[in-house]
């Protein structure tokens, strides 16, 4: 067995791999860039070495340096994690040369599966379903009709030189094919100067389903069920689950066996994932094979009880698999939410900076598991993936796993930067998601205008109103040195245009953290218990026999409350405040229209306008570089630039004023 392993990665995956190593009694060696000197993953390692500047090309992707450290630290093997060098055959070769074991498949397997064309060829040969289509370009309409009849409608006509949706047409019948063929050809010609097109099967309501496999050096291959990762934003997975709501025993077996055949065809050894696109009719087709540990592997671990990393290490140490296909039982349901540092309300703008507060949900690794690479005082830097943590839950069925995940998200407090926690919670509580009828277009269809912090659940909204009112009442009572507890007082919660008028009486003592309130609402009287420490970010409200967890933050005239996918600013008012606020006209927000503020931290790449310049709505104003993405800030209305407050190459903070308009 290995005595010492280098983990050529950072963040949560480095921590996760190190935990298994520790369990197996293997010493760990960590690496870190200059930006990661104080990172959490180093605390999991027996030794750690600096491998250079923050840019990953100079550190985590620097093969030479990593090999040097591996030799210096005298490690037996290297685990690459995911990303970085995990699917880099050069790295694998270099390690082989240095007689250090690479914990992953062979160079050949990485190479062949890393090539889209070769992998498809191998898959086809191994009897794996490939999306039916013409091999090359089609000459004319006749050829297209022939091909389509053979493939079966619906079909998609695609430009050979294509990309970005140009020269693409879907045809459900002969008529549509006839018109679509010509227009696709024309569009291809206009867009790419190349009018060649081909035809392939169009997958309706495509779902992303993948099979986890394990293979050893002795020809043993098993599959650990599937994972569904259809909820994606810009090809980035957001929610993953095991099993898939679509897959039944028969389909699972079919998919699993095809995946095994592909693994055998390339003499695969280690953990790997075969990705398929599946349709609601349970047909499925090969997409690609990932020759590494996947981000979403924990859901499989939760359901199968198998430690995938442990198996990878054993396989690399030339041990044979101890488990057989018959041992694999899918027990219950598991879901994973990826928590990212981003601002869903501001169109998912990246949010980098210090994690000032990090209060994780209660974890036990059986029902709730948290894989995180950040801790309180840690930093999400612009150099690496902005994932903060993976929150994984397990339930007896999907419904239970969902509600556990939603609750865990509600009690996950991160301050200092924005996160997608409320957004993923809104996905988890979404009715369509709950029905299991999801496709890769789910987010586009359910959030056509993006996420605005609201949700449809009116009962939860009422609970939020009740909670905000209760906190205001509890706070008022604490601050007030005189307290007439025998009377009902009135407070009103306003959420946008909804008005909730409550009467309340606090029954518990000021010093108690278990606040009992008697509430009158719409002629009903009932009691609630609010468990809340003064000033705490989290409250529990016991209402109608159920316990609800919410996150609360004081604002100037009310509270921000996050709960079950809501992220709302609510106002709590007294009666006079409410009636008087109605007398005053609503102020138009002068500030925002006169000033361009930076929606995210970043670097100014380009200032596209000059002082005194007339601009029209939609004009580019400033290009900001954040998280290696260029973000164009556009004019919201026709106006004139008065003052430009930044220059190119300036680093800007979120909410910094960039341009003043007239």
């Amino acid at each position: 067995m290995f005595k010492k392993i280098l983990i050529a990665n950072r963040g949560e995956i480095a921590c996760r791999i190190a935990s298994t190593c520790k369990k197996m009694g293997i010493k760990t060696v960590g690496i870190y860039s200059d930006a990661d000197r104080k990172s959490k993953h180093l605390k999991f390692m027996n030794e750690a070495y600096n491998i250079g500047p923050a840019e990953s090309s100079k550190s985590y992707l620097n093969i030479e340096k990593i090999i040097k450290v591996a030799k210096l630290a005298k490690v037996d093997a290297v685990h690459p994690g995911y990303g970085f060098l995990s699917e880099n055959s050069e790295f694998c070769l270099a390690l082989n040369k240095s007689k250090i074991k690479f914990i992953g498949p062979s160079v050949e397997a990485i190479k062949s599966m890393g090539d889209k064309i070769i992998s498809k060829k191998i898959a086809k040969k191994a009897g794996v379903n490939i999306i039916p289509g013409t091999k090359g370009a089609i000459k004319d309409l006749k050829g297209a009709i022939e091909a389509s009849n053979k493939i079966g409608f619906p079909v998609m006509i695609k430009a050979s030189a294509g990309g970005g949706g140009k020269g693409m047409r879907v045809a459900y019948n002969l008529e549509e094919l006839k018109s679509g063929f010509q227009s696709a050809k024309n569009e291809a010609k206009n867009s790419f100067g190349d009018d060649r097109v081909f035809v392939e099967k169009f997958i309706e309501g495509p779902r992303h389903i993948e099979i986890q496999i394990l293979a050893d050096n002795f020809g043993n291959v098993i599959y650990l069920g599937e994972r569904e990762c259809s909820v994606q934003r810009r090809h980035q997975k957001v929610i993953e689950e095991c099993p898939s709501p679509l897959v039944d025993e028969e389909m699972r077996k079919k998919m699993g066996e095809q995946a095994m055949r592909l693994a055998k065809a390339v003499n695969y050894s280690s953990a790997g994932t075969v990705e398929f696109v599946a349709s609601n009719d349970k047909s499925f087709y090969f997409l690609e094979m990932n020759t590494r540990l996947q981000v979403e592997h924990p859901v499989t671990e939760m359901v199968t009880g198998i430690d995938i990393v442990e198996n990878m290490i054993n396989i690399a140490a030339n041990k044979s698999l101890k488990i057989t296909q018959n041992d694999i039982k899918l027990n219950g349901w598991s879901l994973e939410a990826r928590v990212y540092a981003e601002d869903p309300i501001r169109n998912f703008a990246p949010s980098i900076g210090r994690v000032k507060t990090f209060i994780p949900p209660k974890t036990d690794n059986e029902v709730v598991r948290l894989d995180s690479g950040v801790e309180e005082g840690g930093e999400i830097s612009m150099y690496y993936d902005p994932m903060i943590a993976k929150l994984i839950t397990h339930g007896n069925d999907r419904k239970e796993a969902c509600s556990k995940l939603s609750e865990a998200l509600d009690s996950f407090v991160i301050k200092g930067l924005n996160t997608n926690i409320s957004f993923v919670n809104s996905v988890i509580t979404n009715d369509k998601f709950r029905s299991g009828n999801i496709t890769t277009a789910f987010l586009d269809q359910e959030y056509p205008k993006g996420y605005d912090g609201s949700s449809k659940d009116t009962e939860r909204k009422y609970l939020i109103a009740l909670a905000a009112m209760s906190i205001e009442a509890i706070e008022n009572r604490r601050n007030n040195l005189e307290n007439n507890a025998s009377l009902y007082n009135k407070l009103i919660t306003v959420i946008n245009t909804d008005i909730y008028e409550f009467e309340y009486k606090i029954l518990s003592a000021r010093e108690s953290s278990e606040h009992k309130l008697s509430i009158k609402f719409e002629n009903k009287i009932f009691n609630i218990i609010v468990n809340w420490h003064y000033g705490s970010s989290i409250l529990n409200i016991l209402f109608n026999g159920h316990n609800y967890i919410m996150q609360i933050l004081r604002e100037l005239s009310g509270y921000n409350i996050k709960h079950a996918g809501f992220d709302l600013s609510v106002i709590v008012q007294t009666e006079p405040e409410l009636s008087l606020s109605k007398l005053i006209p609503v102020k138009e927000n002068l500030n925002s229209s006169k000033i361009l503020i930076s929606p995210m931290p970043g670097r100014v790449v380009k200032v596209c306008v000059a002082e005194g310049q007339e601009i029209a709505q939609g004009d580019d104003l400033i290009i900001l570089d954040a998280m290696k993405m260029e973000n164009i800030l556009k004019a919201e209305k026709d106006t004139k630039v008065q003052k430009i407050k930044v220059k190119e190459e300036d680093t800007v903070f979120v909410d910094q004023e960039l341009i003043e308009f007239e």
Binding site: R354, K356, N480, N489, E577, I584
Partner: protein, 508 residues
């Protein structure tokens, strides 16, 4: 008898009707509440007791004798804020544009006199077109009577001015003397001379908003402390601030029940100081983590941002926080930040509020703008304020404490009671490179570099200062709250008085 009751009712109704429905509607259209509506929102429910509702002006010129409205343009009285008494006056723009007559001024003076007798804060809601011109010099005299009382009350009871409409000319000096000024965005302004006069005299064309709006005074002039989007938010936040304050200089700061443990560890602080000494960090993260429940009431957040000041609570009791902000001008002290800090320190000292000073200061801002502007005298204000303060003073040096600025920032030498440093602290005359370049003037680059390293090693740590007793202890960042809270607890019984004198002569 019946007649008197009837008349009383009529008069009350007339007073409440104030300038009439039409004027009231026009007030609302401007986004402003009326004088009485503001009090209704501000006061605890059913606690407002009105004074002088029947006062009328005594002017008989320009037909004024026929035009009398009971109350004369200002509503005065007393009410409670979270159960504690305050005296309040609220100018009524619907009555003669809220203009100040002799009688109007007398009402305000009565409130101030009463507050001095009881020892409770005065809250003034300003919404006035200025002097009652029909009354001429009587009105001017009225202003001065108010100023005189504001001055005598200064440091005795907290005085807060809420500017909720126009406040121009002589009227500005009463708020200017009071302790805090809040303004409403877009519907309030303060200036000595309005845009019309400015235009006539200097040909400068400027809008009222630009000249004296909430934005100008909270960002550029520093005259106002805080700006809020509307009347309701401002009144709510004014209540919140009053909760931090004692009722008078003879009262102790209020204590509030809290669940926040004083020994709460804050591990985020262990990584707050960046590895590179030239990189900035946000001192407010320390402030929010240090205080109870992340509840910090910042004063002047948009002015002289290189120093952060405000009220918070530690173990339930009010403290004043003064902190250098490395995010702005590297935390240097300059004219504006010195004045901002000095005035706040003196407020806290007047009202028995302990001072917690967080230091990361590379020095005073150099340059002609600063020197010509009188940084010497302005910087001395902050020094003076810290030095004369007799309230408990707890100081923490997080990183840089260089030169004269080290002395100024509540150092041991200025009677700091408990002075802490983090292990990252560097207490020195100046940065290592600058120091070596002076000591080894004329040496070659290599020598300078070598000596810089040595200087760095010797002085870029808190040990030299600690070995002289300038620091009482070097503490772990995550343990900061506990150490500061314990120090404040210990200092509760601190007794220190300055030599008896009429008053000192702060370098104004």
């Amino acid at each position: 008898m019946k007649n008197i009751a009837e008349e009383l009712k009529n008069k009350k109704n007339k007073a409440k009707l104030a300038g009439g429905l039409k004027r009231l509607e026009s007030q609302h259209a401007k986004g402003k509440l009326s004088a009485r509506e503001r009090i209704e929102v501000f006061a605890d429910k059913n606690t407002f007791i009105e004074y002088d509702m029947f006062v009328e002006h005594r002017s008989s010129d320009f037909g004024m004798e026929k035009n009398k409205i009971p109350g004369d343009g200002v509503v005065t009285g007393t009410c409670k804020v979270n159960g504690r008494p305050v005296m309040i006056y609220s100018q009524d723009f619907t009555v003669y544009g809220g203009s100040l007559s002799e009688a109007h001024a007398e009402k305000i003076c009565k409130i101030l006199d009463q507050a001095m007798k009881i020892g409770c804060p005065v809250i003034g809601l300003n919404d006035s077109g200025g002097a009652r011109i029909q009354e001429g010099v009587a009105s001017l005299g009225g202003y001065a009577e108010v100023f005189q009382r504001n001055v005598l009350a200064s440091g005795f009871i907290p005085q807060i001015s809420l500017i909720m409409g126009p406040c121009a000319g002589g009227a500005v000096y009463s708020p200017a003397i009071t302790d805090f000024i809040f303004m409403v965005e877009d519907s309030s302004y303060m200036f000595v001379t309005g845009p019309d006069v400015v235009k006539t005299v200097t040909h400068e064309s400027v809008s009222a908003e630009e000249l004296g709006g909430a934005g100008s005074h909270t960002k550029k002039s520093g005259v106002a402390d805080l700006a809020f989007s509307d009347d309701l938010t401002l009144l709510k936040q004014a209540r919140r601030m009053i909760d931090f304050l004692p009722l008078s200089n003879e009262d102790k700061p209020p204590k509030r029940f809290t669940n926040d443990p004083i020994d709460r560890k804050s591990y985020n602080l262990d990584t707050l100081i960046p590895s590179n000494a030239n990189n900035p960090y946000d001192i407010k993260e320390l402030v929010f983590t240090l205080v109870d429940e992340e509840d910090f009431f910042e004063i002047q957040p948009n002015f002289a941002q290189n120093i952060v000041i405000g009220f918070a609570r530690i173990a339930g009791s009010t403290v004043g926080i003064i902190a250098n902000q490395p995010m702005v001008l590297a935390g240097c002290l300059d004219i504006d930040s010195s004045c901002k800090g000095a005035r706040f320190v003196r407020f806290c000292d007047s009202f028995n509020i302990p001072l917690v000073t967080l230091v990361d200061v590379p020095g005073f801002l150099p340059g002609t703008v600063q020197e010509y502007g009188g940084i010497i005298k302005h910087g001395a204000k902050l020094l003076y304020a810290f030095a004369e303060a007799t309230v408990p003073k707890v100081t923490l040096i997080t990183r840089k404490a260089y030169g004269g600025a080290y002395d100024v920032m509540a150092s041991k030498h200025l009677r700091g009671d408990v002075n802490f440093a983090w292990p990252t602290a560097e207490i020195a005359v100046m940065g290592a490179k600058g120091a070596v370049e002076i000591i080894f003037r004329g040496s070659n680059e290599k020598e300078i570099e070598k000596q810089t390293d040595q200087y760095q090693e010797k002085f870029s740590n808190p040990f030299v200062a600690a070995s002289r007793g300038y620091l009482d202890d070097i503490i772990t960042p995550s343990n900061t709250r506990y150490r500061i809270a314990s120090a404040l607890e210990l200092l509760k019984t601190k007794k220190l008085t300055n030599p008896k004198k009429k008053h000192g002569n702060i370098p104004l």
